[in-house]
Symmetry: C2
Protein backbone atom coordinates (compact mmCIF):
# COMPACT_ATOMS: atom_id res chain seq x y z
CA UNK A 1 0.00 0.00 0.00
CA UNK A 2 1.49 3.37 -0.94
CA UNK A 3 2.13 5.82 1.85
CA UNK A 4 -0.57 8.44 2.21
CA UNK A 5 0.95 11.84 1.57
CA UNK A 6 -0.38 15.01 3.17
CA UNK A 7 -0.02 17.34 0.20
CA UNK A 8 -0.30 20.59 2.15
CA UNK A 9 2.42 19.51 4.57
CA UNK A 10 4.63 18.26 1.78
CA UNK A 11 4.12 21.46 -0.19
CA UNK A 12 5.16 23.50 2.84
CA UNK A 13 8.20 21.27 3.38
CA UNK A 14 9.30 21.64 -0.24
CA UNK A 15 8.65 25.39 -0.19
CA UNK A 16 10.83 25.82 2.88
CA UNK A 17 13.60 23.75 1.28
CA UNK A 18 13.25 25.88 -1.88
CA UNK A 19 13.52 29.15 0.06
CA UNK A 20 16.59 27.87 1.90
CA UNK A 21 18.34 26.79 -1.30
CA UNK A 22 17.55 30.06 -3.13
CA UNK A 23 18.67 32.13 -0.13
CA UNK A 24 21.93 30.15 0.11
CA UNK A 25 22.85 29.47 -3.52
CA UNK A 26 20.74 31.95 -5.46
CA UNK A 27 18.33 31.05 -8.19
CA UNK A 28 21.25 29.82 -10.29
CA UNK A 29 22.02 27.14 -7.70
CA UNK A 30 18.43 26.03 -7.19
CA UNK A 31 17.36 22.91 -9.09
CA UNK A 32 14.88 20.09 -8.58
CA UNK A 33 17.88 17.98 -7.51
CA UNK A 34 19.29 20.43 -4.93
CA UNK A 35 15.83 21.03 -3.45
CA UNK A 36 15.03 17.31 -3.24
CA UNK A 37 18.31 16.87 -1.36
CA UNK A 38 17.56 19.78 1.01
CA UNK A 39 14.04 18.43 1.70
CA UNK A 40 15.29 14.85 2.01
CA UNK A 41 12.82 13.68 -0.66
CA UNK A 42 13.07 11.80 -3.95
CA UNK A 43 13.39 13.66 -7.24
CA UNK A 44 9.96 12.33 -8.25
CA UNK A 45 8.30 13.71 -5.11
CA UNK A 46 9.62 17.18 -5.87
CA UNK A 47 8.87 16.98 -9.61
CA UNK A 48 5.23 16.63 -8.65
CA UNK A 49 5.31 20.36 -7.78
CA UNK A 50 7.70 21.80 -10.37
CA UNK A 51 10.02 20.71 -13.14
CA UNK A 52 11.77 23.78 -14.46
CA UNK A 53 13.66 26.48 -12.62
CA UNK A 54 10.95 28.94 -13.60
CA UNK A 55 8.21 26.75 -12.10
CA UNK A 56 10.36 26.34 -9.00
CA UNK A 57 10.59 30.08 -8.46
CA UNK A 58 6.88 30.58 -9.15
CA UNK A 59 6.11 27.83 -6.63
CA UNK A 60 8.33 29.37 -3.95
CA UNK A 61 6.86 32.85 -4.46
CA UNK A 62 3.28 31.61 -4.60
CA UNK A 63 3.72 29.96 -1.21
CA UNK A 64 5.18 33.17 0.25
CA UNK A 65 2.22 35.13 -1.10
CA UNK A 66 -0.38 32.59 0.04
CA UNK A 67 0.98 32.52 3.58
CA UNK A 68 1.25 36.31 3.74
CA UNK A 69 -2.31 36.72 2.45
CA UNK A 70 -3.55 34.22 5.04
CA UNK A 71 -1.82 36.06 7.88
CA UNK A 72 -3.15 39.41 6.64
CA UNK A 73 -6.69 38.08 6.35
CA UNK A 74 -6.54 36.84 9.94
CA UNK A 75 -6.14 40.46 11.07
CA UNK A 76 -9.13 41.55 8.99
CA UNK A 77 -11.33 39.28 11.13
CA UNK A 78 -10.28 40.91 14.40
CA UNK A 79 -12.70 43.24 16.17
CA UNK A 80 -10.33 46.13 16.62
CA UNK A 81 -10.31 49.82 15.63
CA UNK A 82 -9.75 50.15 11.83
CA UNK A 83 -6.41 51.91 12.22
CA UNK A 84 -5.07 49.13 14.42
CA UNK A 85 -6.29 46.43 12.03
CA UNK A 86 -4.61 48.27 9.15
CA UNK A 87 -1.38 48.60 11.11
CA UNK A 88 -1.42 44.89 12.02
CA UNK A 89 -1.94 44.00 8.36
CA UNK A 90 0.88 46.24 7.15
CA UNK A 91 3.26 44.87 9.79
CA UNK A 92 2.78 41.41 8.23
CA UNK A 93 4.66 42.75 5.19
CA UNK A 94 7.75 43.30 7.32
CA UNK A 95 9.06 39.80 8.00
CA UNK A 96 10.36 38.99 11.49
CA UNK A 97 13.91 37.66 11.74
CA UNK A 98 12.91 33.99 11.38
CA UNK A 99 11.13 34.66 8.09
CA UNK A 100 13.64 37.05 6.54
CA UNK A 101 14.53 34.33 4.01
CA UNK A 102 11.14 34.96 2.34
CA UNK A 103 12.29 38.50 1.60
CA UNK A 104 15.47 37.16 0.03
CA UNK A 105 13.41 34.88 -2.24
CA UNK A 106 11.26 37.89 -3.10
CA UNK A 107 14.36 39.85 -4.19
CA UNK A 108 15.54 36.94 -6.38
CA UNK A 109 12.06 36.71 -7.83
CA UNK A 110 11.91 40.42 -8.69
CA UNK A 111 15.37 40.33 -10.31
CA UNK A 112 14.39 37.28 -12.35
CA UNK A 113 11.10 38.78 -13.51
CA UNK A 114 12.75 42.10 -14.36
CA UNK A 115 15.28 40.32 -16.56
CA UNK A 116 12.48 38.47 -18.31
CA UNK A 117 10.48 41.71 -18.47
CA UNK A 118 7.57 39.78 -17.01
CA UNK A 119 7.05 41.66 -13.76
CA UNK A 120 3.36 42.31 -13.17
CA UNK A 121 1.44 44.15 -10.49
CA UNK A 122 1.76 41.93 -7.44
CA UNK A 123 -1.03 40.86 -5.14
CA UNK A 124 0.45 42.74 -2.17
CA UNK A 125 0.37 46.03 -4.05
CA UNK A 126 -3.19 45.30 -5.17
CA UNK A 127 -4.07 44.39 -1.58
CA UNK A 128 -2.77 47.66 -0.12
CA UNK A 129 -4.65 49.60 -2.80
CA UNK A 130 -7.84 47.73 -2.00
CA UNK A 131 -7.56 48.22 1.78
CA UNK A 132 -6.81 51.94 1.53
CA UNK A 133 -9.63 52.49 -0.95
CA UNK A 134 -12.08 50.65 1.32
CA UNK A 135 -11.00 52.74 4.31
CA UNK A 136 -11.44 55.86 2.21
CA UNK A 137 -14.87 54.79 0.96
CA UNK A 138 -15.89 54.13 4.56
CA UNK A 139 -15.04 57.75 5.39
CA UNK A 140 -12.22 56.77 7.74
CA UNK A 141 -9.48 58.76 6.00
CA UNK A 142 -9.04 62.52 5.91
CA UNK A 143 -10.77 64.19 2.98
CA UNK A 144 -7.86 66.46 2.02
CA UNK A 145 -5.31 63.70 1.34
CA UNK A 146 -4.24 62.53 -2.11
CA UNK A 147 -5.07 58.84 -1.78
CA UNK A 148 -2.97 57.69 -4.75
CA UNK A 149 0.12 59.44 -3.35
CA UNK A 150 -0.50 58.19 0.19
CA UNK A 151 -0.70 54.59 -1.04
CA UNK A 152 2.56 54.99 -2.97
CA UNK A 153 4.18 56.57 0.09
CA UNK A 154 2.98 53.89 2.52
CA UNK A 155 3.89 50.91 0.37
CA UNK A 156 7.32 52.36 -0.49
CA UNK A 157 8.04 52.98 3.18
CA UNK A 158 7.05 49.42 4.13
CA UNK A 159 9.03 47.71 1.38
CA UNK A 160 11.99 50.02 2.03
CA UNK A 161 11.96 49.04 5.71
CA UNK A 162 11.66 45.33 4.83
CA UNK A 163 14.54 45.64 2.35
CA UNK A 164 16.75 47.52 4.82
CA UNK A 165 15.98 45.01 7.56
CA UNK A 166 17.21 42.27 5.23
CA UNK A 167 20.29 44.36 4.49
CA UNK A 168 20.97 44.90 8.18
CA UNK A 169 20.62 48.71 8.05
CA UNK A 170 17.85 48.93 10.62
CA UNK A 171 19.01 49.39 14.16
CA UNK A 172 15.59 49.68 15.83
CA UNK A 173 13.27 46.89 16.95
CA UNK A 174 9.84 45.91 15.63
CA UNK A 175 8.01 48.02 18.20
CA UNK A 176 9.71 51.20 17.01
CA UNK A 177 9.22 50.22 13.35
CA UNK A 178 5.54 49.79 14.17
CA UNK A 179 5.46 53.25 15.73
CA UNK A 180 7.01 54.75 12.56
CA UNK A 181 4.27 53.20 10.41
CA UNK A 182 1.57 54.16 12.89
CA UNK A 183 2.72 57.77 12.61
CA UNK A 184 2.05 57.57 8.85
CA UNK A 185 -1.43 56.16 9.47
CA UNK A 186 -2.11 58.90 12.06
CA UNK A 187 -1.40 61.41 9.33
CA UNK A 188 -4.07 60.02 6.99
CA UNK A 189 -6.75 58.55 9.33
CA UNK A 190 -9.40 60.89 10.69
Amino acid sequence: MPKIVNHEERKALIAKATWNVIARDGLGGASVRSIAKEANLSLGAVRHYFNTQEELLEFAMQLVEEQATERIMEHAKQQLPPKEVTLNMLMELIPPEDRVVEMQVWLEYISYKLRKKELKEDSVHQGINLIMNKLNDAGLLKVDINLEEEIIHLHALIDGIALHLLMGFITIGRDRIRALIERELDRIFI
Copy 2:
Protein backbone atom coordinates in the same frame (compact mmCIF):
# COMPACT_ATOMS: atom_id res chain seq x y z
CA MET B 1 52.67 52.30 -31.91
CA PRO B 2 49.93 51.01 -29.64
CA LYS B 3 46.69 52.94 -29.55
CA ILE B 4 46.43 55.32 -26.61
CA VAL B 5 43.52 54.24 -24.45
CA ASN B 6 41.52 56.69 -22.36
CA HIS B 7 41.04 54.54 -19.29
CA GLU B 8 38.19 56.55 -17.79
CA GLU B 9 36.20 56.39 -21.02
CA ARG B 10 36.90 52.71 -21.47
CA LYS B 11 35.95 52.00 -17.87
CA ALA B 12 32.64 53.78 -18.39
CA LEU B 13 32.06 51.88 -21.65
CA ILE B 14 32.72 48.52 -19.99
CA ALA B 15 30.60 49.45 -16.97
CA LYS B 16 27.66 50.32 -19.20
CA ALA B 17 28.05 47.03 -21.10
CA THR B 18 28.23 45.20 -17.76
CA TRP B 19 25.03 46.84 -16.46
CA ASN B 20 23.23 46.01 -19.69
CA VAL B 21 24.29 42.35 -19.62
CA ILE B 22 23.38 41.93 -15.93
CA ALA B 23 20.02 43.64 -16.45
CA ARG B 24 19.26 41.41 -19.44
CA ASP B 25 20.74 38.04 -18.46
CA GLY B 26 21.21 38.31 -14.71
CA LEU B 27 24.46 37.80 -12.90
CA GLY B 28 24.43 34.16 -14.00
CA GLY B 29 24.62 35.23 -17.65
CA ALA B 30 27.32 37.85 -17.17
CA SER B 31 30.86 36.79 -18.01
CA VAL B 32 34.02 38.47 -19.25
CA ARG B 33 33.15 37.03 -22.68
CA SER B 34 29.54 38.28 -22.82
CA ILE B 35 30.59 41.73 -21.63
CA ALA B 36 33.45 41.97 -24.12
CA LYS B 37 30.95 41.12 -26.86
CA GLU B 38 28.44 43.72 -25.63
CA ALA B 39 31.15 46.41 -25.44
CA ASN B 40 32.66 45.37 -28.77
CA LEU B 41 36.09 44.91 -27.16
CA SER B 42 38.62 42.11 -26.96
CA LEU B 43 38.63 39.69 -24.02
CA GLY B 44 42.01 41.07 -22.98
CA ALA B 45 40.76 44.64 -22.86
CA VAL B 46 37.95 43.63 -20.50
CA ARG B 47 40.17 41.35 -18.38
CA HIS B 48 42.20 44.44 -17.54
CA TYR B 49 39.29 45.49 -15.29
CA PHE B 50 38.02 42.16 -13.95
CA ASN B 51 38.55 38.44 -14.34
CA THR B 52 36.02 36.67 -12.15
CA GLN B 53 32.28 37.11 -11.93
CA GLU B 54 32.70 38.49 -8.43
CA GLU B 55 35.17 41.14 -9.63
CA LEU B 56 32.78 41.96 -12.48
CA LEU B 57 29.92 42.65 -10.10
CA GLU B 58 32.11 44.68 -7.76
CA PHE B 59 33.33 46.70 -10.74
CA ALA B 60 29.79 47.39 -11.98
CA MET B 61 28.58 48.41 -8.50
CA GLN B 62 31.63 50.54 -7.77
CA LEU B 63 30.98 52.55 -10.93
CA VAL B 64 27.32 53.04 -9.96
CA GLU B 65 28.40 54.26 -6.51
CA GLU B 66 31.16 56.52 -7.85
CA GLN B 67 28.85 58.20 -10.32
CA ALA B 68 26.08 58.61 -7.74
CA THR B 69 28.52 60.08 -5.20
CA GLU B 70 29.82 62.49 -7.83
CA ARG B 71 26.31 63.68 -8.72
CA ILE B 72 25.40 64.06 -5.03
CA MET B 73 28.56 66.05 -4.30
CA GLU B 74 27.73 68.45 -7.15
CA HIS B 75 24.58 69.43 -5.25
CA ALA B 76 26.56 70.03 -2.06
CA LYS B 77 28.47 72.79 -3.87
CA GLN B 78 25.31 74.71 -4.83
CA GLN B 79 24.45 77.92 -2.99
CA LEU B 80 20.87 77.01 -2.13
CA PRO B 81 18.85 76.72 1.09
CA PRO B 82 19.95 73.59 3.06
CA LYS B 83 16.58 71.86 2.70
CA GLU B 84 16.67 72.25 -1.08
CA VAL B 85 20.26 70.98 -1.30
CA THR B 86 19.26 67.96 0.82
CA LEU B 87 16.24 67.29 -1.37
CA ASN B 88 18.34 67.52 -4.54
CA MET B 89 20.85 65.07 -3.06
CA LEU B 90 18.18 62.58 -2.03
CA MET B 91 16.50 62.75 -5.45
CA GLU B 92 19.78 61.51 -6.97
CA LEU B 93 19.08 58.19 -5.23
CA ILE B 94 15.92 57.76 -7.28
CA PRO B 95 17.17 56.96 -10.78
CA PRO B 96 15.40 58.56 -13.76
CA GLU B 97 14.04 56.24 -16.42
CA ASP B 98 17.24 56.17 -18.49
CA ARG B 99 19.30 55.03 -15.50
CA VAL B 100 16.87 52.51 -14.06
CA VAL B 101 19.24 49.70 -15.13
CA GLU B 102 21.59 50.81 -12.32
CA MET B 103 18.87 49.92 -9.84
CA GLN B 104 18.53 46.48 -11.40
CA VAL B 105 22.28 45.91 -11.02
CA TRP B 106 21.96 47.08 -7.42
CA LEU B 107 19.26 44.44 -6.76
CA GLU B 108 21.42 41.71 -8.29
CA TYR B 109 24.33 42.93 -6.17
CA ILE B 110 22.32 42.84 -2.94
CA SER B 111 21.00 39.34 -3.69
CA TYR B 112 24.52 38.12 -4.45
CA LYS B 113 26.01 39.63 -1.30
CA LEU B 114 23.17 38.30 0.85
CA ARG B 115 23.79 34.78 -0.44
CA LYS B 116 27.48 35.15 0.32
CA LYS B 117 26.62 36.74 3.70
CA GLU B 118 29.00 39.53 2.78
CA LEU B 119 26.66 42.50 2.72
CA LYS B 120 28.20 45.46 4.48
CA GLU B 121 26.95 48.96 5.30
CA ASP B 122 26.90 50.71 1.94
CA SER B 123 28.29 54.16 1.21
CA VAL B 124 24.85 55.57 0.41
CA HIS B 125 23.53 54.65 3.84
CA GLN B 126 26.65 56.10 5.44
CA GLY B 127 26.23 59.24 3.30
CA ILE B 128 22.62 59.83 4.38
CA ASN B 129 23.63 59.35 8.00
CA LEU B 130 26.46 61.84 7.61
CA ILE B 131 24.31 64.50 5.90
CA MET B 132 21.48 64.25 8.42
CA ASN B 133 23.89 64.38 11.35
CA LYS B 134 25.62 67.45 9.88
CA LEU B 135 22.26 69.19 9.41
CA ASN B 136 21.36 68.33 12.99
CA ASP B 137 24.70 69.56 14.36
CA ALA B 138 24.18 72.82 12.43
CA GLY B 139 20.90 73.30 14.29
CA LEU B 140 18.80 73.03 11.13
CA LEU B 141 16.59 70.18 12.30
CA LYS B 142 13.85 70.26 14.91
CA VAL B 143 15.08 69.46 18.42
CA ASP B 144 12.23 67.08 19.32
CA ILE B 145 12.83 64.54 16.51
CA ASN B 146 14.46 61.15 16.98
CA LEU B 147 17.27 61.51 14.45
CA GLU B 148 18.06 57.77 14.24
CA GLU B 149 14.43 56.96 13.44
CA GLU B 150 14.08 59.82 10.96
CA ILE B 151 17.14 58.62 9.03
CA ILE B 152 15.76 55.07 8.90
CA HIS B 153 12.39 56.43 7.77
CA LEU B 154 13.83 58.70 5.07
CA HIS B 155 16.21 56.15 3.60
CA ALA B 156 13.57 53.40 3.60
CA LEU B 157 11.10 55.70 1.84
CA ILE B 158 13.65 56.61 -0.83
CA ASP B 159 14.80 53.06 -1.53
CA GLY B 160 11.20 51.85 -1.47
CA ILE B 161 10.25 54.45 -4.09
CA ALA B 162 13.30 53.55 -6.23
CA LEU B 163 12.43 49.85 -5.98
CA HIS B 164 8.77 50.41 -6.84
CA LEU B 165 9.71 52.65 -9.76
CA LEU B 166 11.81 49.78 -11.10
CA MET B 167 8.87 47.43 -10.53
CA GLY B 168 6.49 49.75 -12.35
CA PHE B 169 4.22 50.37 -9.33
CA ILE B 170 4.63 54.12 -9.29
CA THR B 171 2.08 56.02 -11.28
CA ILE B 172 3.21 59.55 -10.44
CA GLY B 173 5.99 61.60 -12.04
CA ARG B 174 9.29 62.78 -10.57
CA ASP B 175 7.85 66.17 -9.56
CA ARG B 176 5.24 64.50 -7.35
CA ILE B 177 7.79 62.05 -5.96
CA ARG B 178 9.94 65.06 -5.11
CA ALA B 179 6.98 66.66 -3.33
CA LEU B 180 6.45 63.48 -1.25
CA ILE B 181 10.06 63.54 -0.09
CA GLU B 182 9.97 67.29 0.51
CA ARG B 183 6.99 66.76 2.80
CA GLU B 184 9.18 64.42 4.91
CA LEU B 185 11.94 67.02 5.06
CA ASP B 186 9.41 69.70 6.03
CA ARG B 187 8.49 67.54 8.98
CA ILE B 188 12.05 67.44 10.33
CA PHE B 189 13.61 70.75 9.21
CA ILE B 190 13.05 73.82 11.40
